[in-house]
């Protein structure tokens, strides 16, 4: 029995799979999206620390939000002490 449409018929049913849920982007239902004002960001990383989606990347100097996964909850905007995360309406799709 195939596990998913793109897996071959020979895929055994009970094999543990390492396929992550990161194959599952948020989609287009989000109504507001965050944007970081890089000028004002102090690099405190609180937006990264408190993101329930774990979708804030901190490799660079200013955190980068991956909007493929962001659900627009606004926690980052509430928690940013520098008030530099702005939530704006998404265009209707």
């Amino acid at each position: 029995m195939p596990r998913l449409k793109d897996e071959p018929l020979s895929t055994p049913v009970v094999t543990p799979s390492a396929r992550p849920m990161s194959e599952n982007p948020t989609g287009d239902w989000r109504s507001v999206a965050p944007r970081i004002d890089a000028e004002k960001c102090t690099g405190c990383l609180l937006c990264w620390k408190f993101c329930p989606e774990a979708c804030v990347d901190v490799a660079g100097e200013v955190p980068r939000i991956d909007l493929h996964y962001c659900k627009g909850c606004g926690v980052c905007a509430t928690e940013c002490p520098a008030h530099c995360v702005h939530m704006s309406e998404e265009a209707a799709s």
Binding site: R3, L4, E7, T15, P16, S17, R19, P20, M21, S22, E23, N24, P25, T26, T42, G43, C44, L45, W48, K49, F50, P52, E53, A54, C55, V58, D66, H68, Y69, K71, G72, C73, G74, V75, A77, T78, E79, M87
Partner: protein, 293 residues
């Protein structure tokens, strides 16, 4: 700035939680503390959904789904199986909501604690059966609205003192945590990992749809729960009691209750009663902290 907690993420983006879910932050921090050599055992709870449908999974460690009443029993079995295979290293963690802990799973939980099974049991407590649509559980606080306490005044019964029940089992480690304090939470899971025997961690986990507040306020409410004294951060290791955060001046409980729609029907006298209860409880906790037991 240097991150104050590990940047390694075992919980992946793309999980199926609601916006602003406190239980995802909790899992994110728990796994930062425990690391990849962990097996998670889930009874029916929100996380059954959040983890995603097989073969995909939103946590990068093995996960076993167990029946509602059986989290602690199934985790005991996983641990025994690993031991039989000579694996003494892997941490086994049962991960249940308040419904699966306070009510439906309490028999298995008590049994496993009594046998001092070598597992971690984490209850992420969002104070009602949220996954099935907000029914009252033993973890629902008095005055909170749920679908099964529909009157304006909310739940008549107080929140069951589960921590006291667990303490009565005289297990080696008990801790409380909440997502507004990630460093504290990561440290407690990392510490629990090093202890042998039954370890219990109780996490207050805000739930936007169930508590009826703006999704942006999850961390704020988690913090207010501690600042008002509604939820105390403490740990009991080998019988030694320690408050991890002892605010010199607690905020009035109203600051925590008001932003939550579930407490909208709360009358001023009911709020005063909650304040009095928090004050009394805090007096006891401070005494215990001073005594160290």
């Amino acid at each position: 700035m240097k991150p104050s907690i590990s940047v390694d993420e075992l919980m992946t983006s793309g999980h199926q939680a609601c916006q602003g879910c406190g239980a995802t932050l909790t899992m994110r921090y728990a796994l930062k503390g425990l690391g990849p050599e962990t097996v998670v055992v889930l009874p029916a709870c929100c996380w059954t959904i959040i983890a995603g449908a097989a073969p995909r999974c939103s946590i990068g460690v093995p996960l076993l789904h167990a029946p509602f009443a059986a989290a602690a029993a199934a985790a005991s079995g996983v641990k025994a199986g690993l031991s039989a295979r000579g694996d003494g290293r892997t941490t086994v963690m049962a991960w249940a909501g308040d419904g699966g802990t306070y009510d439906i799973g309490i028999q298995a939980l008590s049994g496993a604690a009594d046998r001092d099974e070598d597992i971690i049991y984490c209850c992420y407590d969002n104070e009602a059966y949220m996954n099935t649509g907000i029914q009252r559980s033993g973890g629902t606080p008095s005055g909170a609205w749920t679908m099964t306490t529909p009157g304006k005044e909310g739940s008549e019964r107080p929140k069951k003192d589960l921590d006291a029940i667990m303490e009565a089992h005289r297990i080696p480690y008990i801790a409380t945590a909440t997502p507004a304090y990630p460093e504290d939470m990561v440290r407690k899971f990392a510490k629990a990992k090093t202890i042998k025997g039954f370890r219990f961690i109780h996490v207050l986990s805000p739930c936007p749809p169930g508590w009826k507040y703006d999704t942006a306020d999850t961390v704020k409410l988690s913090r207010l729960a501690v600042q008002t004294g509604m939820f105390a951060l403490y740990e009991i290791a080998e019988g030694r009691f320690k408050l991890n955060l002892n605010p010199a001046k607690r905020k009035p409980v109203g600051e925590y209750l008001k932003p939550q729609g579930r407490f909208r029907g709360l009358k001023p006298d009911a709020e005063a009663a909650i304040q009095a209860e928090v004050d009394a409880r805090w007096a006891l906790l401070s005494q215990r902290h001073a005594r160290g037991t």
